[in-house]
Point group: D2
Chain length 350, copies 4
């Protein structure tokens, strides 16, 4: 059966498997102190134009979010996130399990409503200045996802506005880049990797959903922050064979020209986005109604509940949320591995 | 200056000080294993008509909420609370610091919107049944405050509806009774202490704001729940001289007739409510505009920001929240110690 | 029955009750922002000759230890303590519940074995420098109690040695002073309060066991440390009526001359120590065998298990630990409230 | 250079890489709900003769220990472990970071001293029964490692004694099997996998050190225990592409005969042990002094510090601990990938 339900259904890009096989019996130092990890970190710093950035390779996204936020937040500090943000709804309370409150902020199509955020920050400050901050959770980090859980992208101007808000209210800006490649490779994206890196204090570039077997690369560009190795180990997030992460990112991020656009990571991301756009346009031609415009690898449609059973027999998709009593928002995902043949077959069959 | 800014500005009811002085040099066993604590727990069980209930005396409200919820919640379970609920906004993230998410629910005047809650629970269940509960925070407790942070009261019917929702969705019902006396002694209250006790799985009867120097009495009526002494100790919440708590509640809850209405706790609560109503009516007569109807010891008004400085010179009140650009919601509180002379003086001066 | 089982069996020094009664109906600001707390903090800074120290009043000892250590330790850092230290054995794992390991160190009669500690720190450093600190718990605080759980006292020279070790290995020195008065008022004590304050980075002066109803005064002398009010609130450790703490310490620490030796705290401590010495000497005269020399308010004896039942009928004491198969170490405590008549009655009856 | 410093320096057994490549572009369900994980869990249950056991596949050992223990321990409960146990010394305080104390117990060559443990449990119970368990950390789990960190093995009789102690004192028995294969495949091992499974309440069979790229298989045989998927997700320990774990264990645990001795896991473990014995005997022949007898894949020797630099130029080994001022305990590890040629080359060169 055709499967478009998510973007982590396949293994890894074949080049990664080749590389893993080629060094399989090499004896490497453990815990990320190997040369592949070192090299991959260097590549990432170069691609980000952030020569002093701290790079940490972790296994998964929830783990990355929890470790990064736990490294920053202290005492009664918390993290602001869209109500629809991954850390607020899909991580089983992982941030709270570290002791930190996620403060929900209004969002549209996955993106934080900047005016609403501004009002909220203004209000919190006004109230806390009077009553005393010790009674409240003090916002210290603004969490965004890029692209968002709805496949949408912040524009460069929006990111600058968020950055300005962060500066005004003493917040760190943290971008969850589980699908970062699918954002940066979108034709609608008006920001480069170095620009994103300089606007954020910390972000991660996701591998699990973009060509790797697993792995997320955390980049800390604000030199006053750090994700200590001791914290990573303590939270059970330090991979013994850390070179498995290093080698994968080294493979994904190699670039003959030194440009991000010439990495394997970028080219496979671009493919996924192109396939998603083809799929989206095709579905519209077939009469499907778009739920929102997504310029990345996720496509959202409104489907009549009556047609869902038949559709399910043809293709695996994701029932994202209820739209109304008789309709459902459904999601189709492409990935680095999606082929045009697969998309066309789907369009033919439905 | 006159002070009506909150209900914990005075020490304790004089009878409590007398009792404390009378046993001051007695040698009592520590950690709540004394006869006064034993006796007070017994009285409370009787007044609640809950002979098997577990009773724990704790020092403060945030501590009580944290210890109670931490005793119930496990793994990825969380607690539902009104967006305006004390645990969601005024406890510095104490529940999250124990590892548990507070899931905000729409509220009106401090009371959870029952229809909204029902939709929310339905939606969560529908989504989790499909995606898998392990990715979400599973609601396990419904937190309400009685009276609420806005002085409002749930009716008996509303509490029954909440109870029914809890039963349908496998939730425990927990009532924060920091101002429980001011609720139960309100003329608008249509529920008794035993009825409340039987509708909730656990609640606390507050002393700090109702006549005691400090202290909250947790009552666990659901026999499948327990707040272990080991947890209390581990969280630094076990008072060495536990009899100080026991004696205070024993004093507050003594009743010649065995009826709650004949306790000191009830009579001083009734006084506070009467004074609050007198104050509220007086302010309306003076032209102040009510923000909402509160039948308990807190009164909320909408004041023009221009008059606040002058008002502040006459009386201490609480700037509760912004109403609009030019008005503020202000709060006046009475307490067990408020006298008619104080209220009348305030009404005279403004 | 006579009771010498611990030093927190009575209420408070009568002068404290008088003061509480005298301001009972005053309306004070909450959460420790009142004038009594302000004044008490000032007195304590003066008595410690630490004009810049941060002072926090907390309710109990376990709470104080947990809040203080949690304010300092991060990530994989831990606290060194004597195997017999209160945080290691008698606090139900309160420090671990905050996420921090207590690293046990060999001790004699409650005092850390300095040579053993030095070897331990040397070894940890040697090992971690090779393997990588991220795999270990990094010692960051040295916890001592003064007096210790066995009533013993570190000499000034010993404290200087510990301080030097802390400086060499990058540790903070924290003294648990639950019974600080009984230590400083001991004729065997060769250190003053200002000296202790300057040798430690943070310590607390205990009230619960020394004349107060409850309360511990945390003094942070190292200006790079702080116990944030937001942490105190978050952990449920912020007393609503904070002036109850302030007033008690203000009463205990008033001194006409400005000298610690002229405070109520010191004079009642001295009484307890004198009574303990009288009791200890009396028991030796009666043929009891000392377990160790304690120059403070706790006295430890080795009793034949066969005599314990009879002894228990005369006096309440504490069965501290097993000595051997047929003997038990028992403890007698005096307190600020112990009278010579009580001691003499005990000596007469046994 | 020759490397014998640890047993996780190589990738995976080539058969695992082949399997991963063969299904690389298959689309699998995420989060461990795939058929490979299902099949591997089934195999493990069969091999353990525990048809009802719960099986969870996790990424690493520290993660497995933390998740398992956090699933069991509540409130003021703690876990007993050898002072040299991995959770006590080499996991950066991961268990404490979950809120639980590790209670150290005397050990010899990595094995818990059973008599000492018995005395300790007896003492704790005696003391807590008198003083009240709420002041202590209540032992609830006994953690052992099999083989231990020193390569040693408990005999079946010793395990039965530990089991009996656990039953007597209400403890769960948990075995850390990071190197389980190297234990069960040792000629000195007198226990089978099903026997181990039936003696423990929960244990894990390690993959990271025994042929897998990564992965540990937790087996919960006590039906009153469970490691909830929600906890795994919340702690960032749920691998998105869970089939990577399932497929690896399915490969390692396939057995034509259904017998553990015919699995790839067993045969590669046996090789490692054989190589280690060859290495150990060879070093003795060369005049090296054994530190202890290890019947598994780790070999410990006492080396003069003066020879370490030269030795380091020939082979990478592990400086395990100081033996005395002039000698060091060094460790050589073999793994599933170690060849006889490598061992013989080492023996030739030193």
């Amino acid at each position: 059966m055709l499967k478009f339900s998510c973007d982590y259904m396949e293994g890894a890009h074949p080049e990664i498997l080749r590389q893993l096989a080629s060094i399989n019996l090499e004896k490497n130092d453990g815990y990320g102190l190997d040369e592949y990890s070192h090299r991959a970190a260097g590549r990432l710093r170069e691609l980000c134009n952030a020569p002093e950035a701290e790079v940490r390779f972790l296994v998964g996204g929830t783990q990355a979010n929890a470790v990064v936020l736990d490294s920053i937040l202290r005492f009664n500090e918390g993290v602001l996130a869209a109500t629809t943000g991954h850390i607020n709804v899909h991580e089983a309370g992982a941030i709270e399990a570290c002791g930190h409150k996620v403060i929900p902020v209004d969002a549209n199509n996955g993106k934080i409503d900047i005016e609403s955020l501004e009002r909220r920050l203004h209000l919190i400050k006004a109230e806390c200045d009077v009553v005393g901050w010790e009674h409240y959770v003090v916002p210290r980090v603004l969490y965004i996802s890029f692209p968002t859980e709805y496949g949408s992208l912040y524009t460069k101007d929006e990111l600058k506005s968020l950055r300005a808000l962060c500066d005004r209210y003493g917040l760190y800006l943290y971008a969850d880049g589980a699908r970062l490649g699918y954002g940066l490779a979108s034709p609608d994206c008006d920001i480069t990797l170095p620009e994103l890196a300089s606007l954020c204090d910390v972000f991660y570039l996701g591998g699990t959903k973009v060509g790797a077997l697993f792995g997320e690369a955390v980049v800390v560009t604000n030199s006053s922050l750090s994700v200590p190795r001791g914290l990573i180990k303590q939270r059970g997030a330090m991979l013994a064979k850390g070179w498995l992460l290093g080698l994968q990112f080294d493979t994904l991020l190699s670039s003959a020209t030194g440009k991000f656009e010439d990495t394997l990571y970028y080219s496979i991301s671009r493919n996924a986005v192109a396939m998603a756009q083809r799929l989206g346009e095709g579905l519209i031609m077939k009469g499907y109604r778009k739920y929102l415009d997504s310029p990345t690898n996720q496509q959202f449609f409104i489907a009549d509940n009556a047609v869902l059973p038949a559709l399910s027999r043809v293709v695996a998709f994701d029932s994202f949320s209820a739209y109304d009593e008789t309709h459902t928002v459904i999601r189709f995902c492409t990935s680095w591995a999606t082929t045009q043949a697969q998309v066309d077959e789907l369009l033919e069959q439905i």
